[in-house]
Each structure stands twice: as structure tokens, then as C-alpha cells.
Amino acid sequence: MKNSNIQLIDESGKRVDGRYPNEMRRLRIEAGVLKNADGSAYIELGNNKIIVAVYGPHESTPKYLAEPDRAVIRCRYSMAPFSVSDRKSPSPSRREVELSMVIRQALEPAVFLNEYPRTMIDVFIEVLEADGGTRTASITAAAVALADAGIAMRDLVSAIAIGKVGGRLVVDLNGLEDQYGEGDMPIAMMPQLNYVTLFQADGVFTPQEIEDAFRMVADPIKKIYREQKRALKKKYVDVVREVEKSE
């Protein structure tokens, strides 16, 4: 987080892209967008464009990764070279390695892994365009792709960041706010069960702000969840019924 002279909130309390502090960017989710994948989803959150493919449950490759009593989730978060301002090398960066892990850990609590012993479930995420908040948007889309693949889930996972710009908390940082703001706190939740499955922060937050962030995130999480269900419903009424039954 680099403080700077860039003014990220104006006198009227509006942000650089005209949003209010508690306002998310435009969100669009589509399920079942790929033919090869067993499940898939496409998400646009502001300028972010991300595609997620789920393959599985299938036989574990390599075999030694298989677990006798449950499925193993393999997760790959990757950014296309043209998704960012300066071309990104296609080989995995340390950031991508970490995000592949925390995204996996954000999804695992929601999947009934024990239903699929000895199998592997692949979650492949490709960021086509990035503008702040790709990890949370990826989680949101990946949960839809898992459901689209017909995988049994306790709940969906809905995710969004709380950030800190101009000394105050705001919802859903865009790229500019992420770069010049004071803090970023991505949160993923199982919205029906009310559990936190991803929680990170950069920047400096007062102890009180941690609590405020959780209060602030509740509403956007609900909105995201509704959009996830809408996307699933649109193509797979049956699958949604399964998900709702578990609510």
C-alpha cells in the first residue's frame, strides 16, 4: 500500500469511479459457459473478467495425491499476460502460487469432499482482465462453477473486498484504489452458513475497523449470493434446487 497524494474520495464522499463507499461495482455472473469443462462460470466485476473451469470429480492424477476418504481439490489461479497493464510472464508468479492456495482453502469448506473419495476436483481460474479484487471475484465464480459441475456443496462461497481509502472503509476496491489506497481486506463467506473461509489484509487497520469491515461486508455478500444463484438458475434450475434445499 503506497500512500500518495491521489485523492480517492472527493468532498461529496464519492470515489474515483463515482461509487459511494458501500457500493459494489457492476456484477455479472454466467454459469455453464464452457463446453469441455464439467462446470464453468464467467464473472465480470467492474472491469475484471474471469473465467473458471471445473473438471471432476475424476480419477486423481497423479495417483499418489488421492485420499482414501475424500476428494482432493486442485486449484490454479492464473493471470493472462494481457490482463494487466504491463505484460505478465505466463509462468506462475509467487503471488499466483499463494492465491491458488488461499482460493482453494476458501472453497474447500463449502464442498462435501467426503462424498467423492479417491477423486480429484480441478478448479482452473483464468483472469482475462484484472482491475482489483480478482481473488474474491475468482472465488465467487469458482463456487458457481463447482455448483454448475453438479458437485455437492454445503453452501456457495461469496467473496468481496473491504478496503480503506481516504481514511475510511469502502466496499470493493478497484485497481486504482487498490494501488493507491491504504488497505485491502478480502473476505470470503459461506453466506447461508455464515462462515468466513478467506480473510486477509494488507495495510493498517485499527482493531475497530476489523469489526466494522465485517458489518460492512454483509450486504454486498448477500447481493453476490443472489447473483450467483440467479446465474445458476438461469441455466440449471435443477442444480439450484439442490443448493437451496441445503440452505
Binding site: N36, A37, P90, E126, E129
Partner: protein, 272 residues
């Protein structure tokens, strides 16, 4: 190291079904042997890229993005910009793609696209010199298949060419050897457009724009890159089978016949 590909991916039965159709002049999706699947080209898809295109060829989907950067020329071509084509077979696109650095198939694809563009002099590389011998524009074309349902070469060619046609290059000025890149942009100079026509050989049949299953059934494939003068600006035979000379010449005729339909799908040249 290159190893023979696994056979047995396509059942013999399935191959027989495909062949039975071809003997009647029919393909599974109802196309004629020289017909392409439906083509859709969407440029300007990625805002962060200098140029981009999302291409659908039936169920096959490929995205290509162009990034540009000021770099140094290759030592043997000090007065030309640099064009780099890269393809990643990300596991999103197919259960047969494994994560990891590009394998031989992705490398071949990128090199075939690159050579076609380069042979045709599609990008006017000579106009991309900023300081002769030391500073030139580098044009990166990254090809990402998103859904692999056959014929990645032609789809990638359409995506790469469309992304280049969509590319806006920042206006750069040079003062005392220092390059200044402004906010202003102008189209990347393109001298000619190129399309790629791939024809699979399944027993004695030549089939344009093969699907994934037709590719598995095929003995070999031949790709002709074609420029706007309808000359050949690249050839690549693929697969472990062989062709008769006549088959290669027939394929050439087919390529020249269908190329104009592909050009129609591409954006126009800048300034044209």
C-alpha cells in the same frame, strides 16, 4: 524430446461412424467437407490489452491479447521491431491440457502462427523502430484457447490477426536517445492480413476445419497460411501420418477457395 501420442483416445467405433459419414459426403454436424463452423470475432474484449479478440469457431473458443513494450531489437535485425507470439494451453480449455509450461503442441501452434504473420510481413515491423539498433517496439501476441473443440490453429490465427488489427500503439517520441511514450494512440501498422486454413486427412478424405473428434480420427493435417494476395505464406504438416502429393495440392486448392470467407470475418486493415 517428442514422444508418439497416445492412440486409443478415440474409440475405433467412433472413427467408423465418422468415416461412414464422410463416405456419404456428410459430417456429424451437417457441414460439407469444405465448410467452416460458424465464426464469431469480437475485438476490443480486454481493456488492459493494446489489442484483443475473442474468437469462436463453433464450440472452439480462443482469446488473443496484444501487449506492447519498448525493448531492444534482435542483434541480426537492428532495424526491425520485435514480434513475439506465445500460446498457452491452459487447463481451463480441455481435459487433455495439463498445467505447466507450454508443451510441443502449444509451441508448434505459436510458431506456426508466428511464421505465417512473419512470412507475409503482416505487421510492418520496419515501422516499429524508435532508435535504430537500440530501441524498438516489441509486440507480444498471447494466444489462450478457452475451449478446445478442434482446429485451434485456424481459430488462433483468426484471434491473433484480429487482435493485431485491433491494436492501438502509443505514440512515442525520441529525444536524445530517450523514448517518451505519450497517452495518444494510433493503430498498429499492418501491411497484409493472414488467415490459416487447416485440413485434416481422414483416410482418403480431406476435411476443412476439423472438430476435436475429427482431429482424433485423422491420420494427419495440413495447414496453409494465406495472405490477401491469395499466395501461400506458410505451410505446416502435422500428425504422424503421410500425404500423397496430390492430396497436398488438393488441400492447397481448398485453402485458396475458403480463405476469402475467413478474410470476411476479420476486421479491416487500419486506414483501409
Amino acid at each position: 524430446m517428442s514422444e508418439s501420442k497416445s492412440a486409443g483416445v478415440l474409440s475405433l467405433l467412433k472413427r467408423e461412424v465418422i468415416l461412414a459419414g464422410l463416405r456419404k459426403g456428410e459430417r456429424e454436424d451437417g457441414r460439407s467437407l469444405t465448410e467452416y463452423r460458424e465464426i464469431e470475432v469480437k475485438t476490443g474484449y480486454v481493456g488492459k490489452a493494446e489489442g484483443s479478440a475473442l474468437v469462436s469457431l463453433g464450440d472452439t473458443k480462443v482469446i488473443a491479447g496484444v501487449k506492447v513494450d519498448v525493448g531492444t531489437p534482435f542483434p541480426d535485425t537492428p532495424n526491425m521491431g520485435v514480434q513475439i507470439v506465445n500460446a498457452e494451453f491452459i487447463p481451463v480449455a480441455s481435459p487433455v491440457f495439463e498445467p505447466g509450461p507450454p508443451g510441443e503442441d502449444a509451441i508448434e501452434l505459436a510458431r506456426v502462427i508466428d511464421r505465417g504473420l512473419r512470412s507475409a510481413e503482416a505487421v510492418d515491423l520496419e515501422s516499429l523502430v524508435l532508435v535504430p539498433g537500440s530501441k524498438v517496439w516489441t509486440i507480444f501476441v498471447d494466444i489462450y484457447p478457452l475451449d478446445h473443440y478442434g482446429n485451434l490453429i485456424d481459430a488462433s490465427g483468426l484471434a491473433a490477426m484480429s487482435a493485431l488489427l485491433d491494436t492501438k500503439l502509443p505514440v512515442a517520441t525520441v529525444e536524445e536517445g530517450e523514448v517518451r511514450v505519450s497517452e495518444e494512440k494510433k493503430p498498429l501498422p499492418i501491411k497484409t492480413r493472414v488467415v490459416y486454413v487447416t485440413i485434416a486427412k481422414i483416410e482418403d478424405f480431406l476435411v476443412v476445419d476439423p472438430t476435436f473428434e475429427e482431429e482424433l480420427a485423422a491420420d494427419a493435417r495440413i495447414t496453409y497460411a494465406v495472405n490477401e494476395d491469395l499466395n501461400i505464406c506458410g505451410i505446416q504438416k502435422g500428425g504422424s501420418g503421410a500425404f500423397r502429393v496430390k492430396e497436398l495440392l488438393d488441400a492447397r486448392d481448398i485453402a485458396l477457395e475458403v480463405a476469402p470467407k475467413l478474410f470476411e470475418k476479420l476486421p479491416g486493415k487500419p486506414g483501409a
